[in-house]
């Protein structure tokens, strides 16, 4: 759409903006981000299905990779952030990480090239699921009153601080945590995609419409920078998926233990 726009209006460059994240429906109400969600889900499901179909004690390459992924969530994230009880939450955390990795990395996979997680709906509902889980396990473990008391009045803090600390802790746990989870992921992906769009579309505009020495040299630099940024984005996409899952695990672990 934007590419079409740049071609049509050859004398003026339109910087990519939030409008580039709104795709027209492919059919009915089905848009490209939804297609990426469906494809990512299918790919993740198929990968793990084929990796575990003939699971054996001595794993093949595919099983080794899938088990390495599962073991990473199990032994690094869940064991460290939650502890021995963490094993119960590994299915959720592993699914979450696989889902996020797939939908983040779709931002640099050629035919798709759009991170589905830059649409706020996806991180939002995942953050809400994490929020429900850690509040539920906290209330179930410590009781309703106990959960909020331990959260707002942690031991080992001078009582004078409580008037200040209690509302901050409450707001942090109940409001800010899901909001920051959502916004951190959404806008890392959003900004990353915007930077790539700017580099590639800007480079294209310089090469095709500005031309001349300035146009070609600046355009080449912009395209090259776009390629470098693509690799950097790949790293950011993996990192943000990990951060989302790690924070969810830390919140669950914190809700299960009394003292923070």
């Amino acid at each position: 759409m934007n590419a079409w726009r740049t071609v049509a209006m050859s004398e003026e460059f339109h910087a990519p903006g939030p409008g580039d994240f709104d795709y027209p429906p492919l059919f009915g109400w089905f848009t490209k981000p939804m297609l990426i969600v469906v494809l990512g889900t299918l790919v993740v499901g198929a990968f793990f299905y084929f990796a575990s179909r003939r699971a054996s004690i001595v794993p093949g390459k595919l099983q080794f990779a899938a088990e390495g992924f599962y073991g990473f969530v199990r032994n690094q994230i869940a064991a460290d952030a939650i502890g021995r009880e963490g094993i119960k939450y590994v299915p959720y955390l592993a699914t979450l990480l696989a889902f996020l990795v797939a939908l983040n990395i779709s931002g640099i996979i050629p035919p798709l090239q759009f991170p589905a997680t830059s649409k706020i709906a996806i991180p939002l509902f995942l953050a809400v699921i994490s929020w429900v889980i850690y509040n539920y396990v906290g209330i179930r473990r410590q009781g309703f009153g106990g959960y909020f008391t331990n959260m707002m009045f942690p031991s080992g803090v001078p009582p004078l601080i409580y008037p200040l600390l209690a509302p901050i802790e409450f707001l942090s746990t109940v409001v800010f945590r899901p909001v920051t989870l959502t916004l951190r992921l959404t806008f890392n992906m959003f900004a990353g995609h915007l930077v790539l769009l700017l580099c590639i579309l800007g480079g294209e505009f310089l090469l095709l419409h500005v031309r001349g020495l300035v146009g070609f040299s600046a355009g080449a630099v912009a395209i090259l920078f776009g390629i470098v940024m693509t690799f950097f984005e790949g790293f950011i996409q993996l990192l943000q998926a990990y951060v989302f899952v790690l924070l969810s695990a830390i919140y669950i672990g914190g809700a299960l233990t009394h003292d923070h």
């Binding site: 939030p18 969600v37 499901g45 575990s52 699971a55 054996s56 696989a98 699921i129 959003f190």
Partner: protein, 198 residues
């Protein structure tokens, strides 16, 4: 906080129908994402994660079993080595004892043989002595009887020849002695002292 303000601004923009706000979740995307994630979660939790957990446990068991078996094998080998060493030491002791026994036994046999040989030699010498003494006794006895007879005979002859002539008497004595010597040549050695005594 600034993000919340920005969110409010963007929502307001959305309401005014300008640029679509990235902060405004699309309901259709929310539903598709939620359904996809839910299906993925239930699928993986039903089929894949339990399988991984099981192989994980099996592998741990297999590795621990392997380590245990290896430790058992090592202990077994250690036991066998100690047994072998003990047997070797036993065998060495046994050999030394047998050698010692053989040595003492050999010495005993040698001493026994020497003693019995000595006894045989002693016995033979003793018997020889006894025999010689017996023969000597016998000879002396027979000589004594003979010398008596001879002396008596000689005396008769000396007296019967008349003792007038010294020369004759001398001849008689000479003849007697010659006879005696002849008989002596025929008989045993011890005759002469007996004859002298007679």
């Amino acid at each position: 906080m600034s993000t919340l303000v920005a969110a409010a601004v963007l929502v307001a923009q959305e309401a005014e129908g300008e640029e679509p706000s990235p902060l405004f979740p699309h309901l259709s995307e929310l539903i598709v994402g939620l359904v996809a994630f839910a299906l993925l979660f239930f699928f993986l939790s039903r089929t894949v994660w339990p399988m991984f957990e099981r192989t994980y446990a099996e592998r741990t068991a297999a590795i621990e079993g392997g380590i245990k078996r290896a430790q058992e094998a090592q202990a077994e080998a250690q036991r066998a080595l100690e047994q072998y060493r003990a047997q070797l030491a036993d065998a060495r002791g046994e050999a030394a004892r047998i050698r010692e026994d053989a040595k003492t036994q050999g010495a005993a046999i040698l001493a026994e043989m020497r003693r019995s040989a000595q006894a045989d030699a002693d016995r033979i010498v003793e018997r020889a002595h006894t025999q010689v003494a017996a023969e000597r006794e016998q000879v002396v006895r027979s000589l004594r009887a003979e010398v008596g007879t001879l002396a008596t005979e000689l005396a008769e002859r000396v007296v019967g020849e008349s003792l007038a002539d010294d020369a004759r008497a001398q001849r008689v004595v000479e003849r007697f002695l010659a006879e005696l010597e002849a008989s002596e040549a025929a008989g045993p050695d011890g005759a002469r002292p007996g004859a002298r005594e007679a």
